[in-house]
Subunit: 117 residues, 2 copies
């Protein structure tokens, strides 16, 4: 069993095209023995954003702190602490910090070797 506070894991800058003021911490990952999916914690600075993109992997997200939006179709939907978001595979999305403080959220994704066949 792994028990760790997220603050004890180093935050790495997200350097993808379109990302601005975003860091990631891998809380539970393949190296921990996780067989199916991973837990990451993202922090976005005020005015920052993740890239507007889509991909084959779903996301399961939970907002812990801050105020922001998630892009859904052609609208920016407000999210606050306690908001859960399911992003299906191949749905375009991004998360943007619209508040004055840090925006902090969990984002779970499947691990690729879980695919069958």
């Amino acid at each position: 069993m792994k028990v760790i506070n997220y603050k004890d894991i180093e935050a790495a800058p997200v350097r993808m095209d379109g990302a601005r003021g975003v860091t990631i911490r891998w809380l539970i990952a393949r190296d921990d023995g996780a067989p199916g999916f991973a837990m990451r914690l993202f922090e976005i600075d005020p005015g920052g954003t993740t890239p507007l993109h889509k991909h084959a992997q779903e996301h399961e997200v939970f907002i812990i702190e801050g105020a922001g939006t998630v892009w859904r179709g052609d609208e920016a939907v407000p999210v606050t602490p306690g908001t859960a978001i399911f992003v299906p595979p191949q749905e375009t999305h991004c998360f943007t910090n619209t508040g004055d403080g840090v925006m902090r959220f969990l984002c779970m994704v499947p691990l690729e070797e879980k695919t069958c066949g």
Copy 2:
């Protein structure tokens, strides 16, 4: 895309043997189209606990609020907001509220139809 605050989902009592003062809300589940894993939010009353048990499915847990312990081997490890916990398959575990207020945490689990073969 599903966007919902956990407070807008009904909390159901957990009636398993050994559970005391525990509720569950399914935030992201099979019916939402989640292909691989689910997100649940648990609340434990002061003095309450989940059952001490083990099973084939791993857990990925993140403490949102409150103070408690997770049973690991033969010790009760303190957990606080910001603690992430990976419970591997078949490891005995339980979560207990040792504080004065509600203990609230996310618990992700694989969905069974994801198994291969």
